[in-house]
Amino acid sequence: MTTLWMDVAWRRGAFALQAALRARPDEVTALLGPSGSGKSSLLRLAAGLARPDEGRIGLGEKLWLDRAAGVFVPPQRRGVGMVFQDYALFPHRSVAANVGFGVARRQRRVQVAVWLRRLGLAHLADRLPHQLSGGERQRVALARALAMEPQVLLLDEPFSAVDPRLRQALRELLAEVLAETGRPTLLVSHDLDDVRYLADTVGVMVAGRLHCLGPRAAVFDDPGTREAAEVLGWRNFLPVEGVAGCEVVGPWGRLRLPEPVPADVAWLGVRGERLRLGSPRGEGLKGRVLRITDLGAVRELSCRLDCGLMLHVRRPWDEPLPVAGSEVGIQLPLPALRPLRVKVGGRPHRPCSVVGEWQAKGR
């Protein structure tokens, strides 16, 4: 079992990328982040399609790149199966010829047949890419990457060009295919659903930095920084003006948390689902409901607090809610509050609490 690891710095003009990560062989590691955050660049570095300015990349014992020692293994000899964002299929080659491109001649027929069948493409073997639907092209790209039996699988926004209706079916197919491979898989996406469905380990990238990396549930529960929390869909951030032990003070009031709070915490974050509504005369923060948005399974109440802050409370769709314009009290459940830093510091980047534990286990 071999782990893909990298610790790189890469600069292009004003954009600086700096990240260290390990992708374990029995897992799907997802990099989540807005477009332009550098997650695709990280994949290109892993594939050998770009070279970092400094750093090291390798697979297990094998060194793929070491800037200091002048080591560079070209993409041809890394054995990485890459699925490109718009698939990059060979337009002049049939589906079967695309899938067989990376396979040695002697195994080609068998491998192509196996993977076409596996991904439900057997009836399309002789078609050209432009004769296929988006979902079919996506499967051809996946089959082409898998047929070469890569040591590492790299997926760059694999579903971004697919009709949303088809996405879920493709995710399920991919999850099934990935489950039986013992290779590290690195998935880049800006879609939370991709990550929920496919990833075991999640890293959040913002502006060229890896803000946290850890088991999916742990990262979703405690992103560590405000930027990472925003990428994960959090919307409630209480500014912190002062910290003393367990005490936290802000324009919204004062709280005593169950555990001591680090001094550099700038925000308390909380998921909308964890907020409770109460009477405006009861405990908690006071505010007014501005609007109610129906999100399907939940409804979101956007409330302006008396101190001016906005909070977005999410409640199950069948729970009775106050009407827009009415005054409400919002209770902050202390165990659900997450201290968040502003952003990751200088190199080496400060991992969020989760990473320390996870890495210790991983070694």
Binding site: F101, G102, M148
Partner: protein, 224 residues
Amino acid sequence: MAGLDLAPLWLTVKLAALTVVLLFVVGLPLAWWLARTSSRWRPLVEAVTALPLVLPPVVLGFYLLLLLGAEGPLGQWWMAFTGRPLAFSFTGLVIASCLYSLPFVVQPLQTAFSQLDRRTVEAAWTLGASRFKTFFTVVLPQARSGVLTAAVLGFAHTLGEFGVALMVGGNIPGETQVVSIAIYEHVEALAYDQANAYALLLLGVSLLVLWLVYGIQRRDQGLR
């Protein structure tokens, strides 16, 4: 029109075909480099490549004559090697034609290469294909309409060459007398019938070649 000397025609076709072959050897790597490089020298190389488009053929021919002539550096070198002069020879004419038709081969190739989806090249690399294999199995097939255009334009442009051919090749029947020069000579001698025969042949060949190209391109687009 009876007894028309076909030697100038064969010579012209031979010259054009040889020129295209040589230009592909030089032009494919040059166009690939131009399409992909971010070097600061690219504009200069592009300008030099495009020079024959704007330069009067006589000017190009004049400098080529200085270069290839008995006193010129290339001419002297060639003389020392082969014992024969380069100017006013078929070999000299081939070299001149290559320079003269260079942009007509390089530019369509460069355009085709730069329109190519770069990620198909990268995909081929990740799938283990060497740069060489990638070029011939992924790049060229996708650029085939550019390749065809380059071949035809290079061929047709060499067919119609006059100024350069006159300066460098002169008018030696069977050696350097191409069709356009034969036409010029016949017109000078007021032999309009002869001139017309050659001119018609040139017109016919050119039309046929272009027709073929557009036909193939049409079929190609149908495939897309």
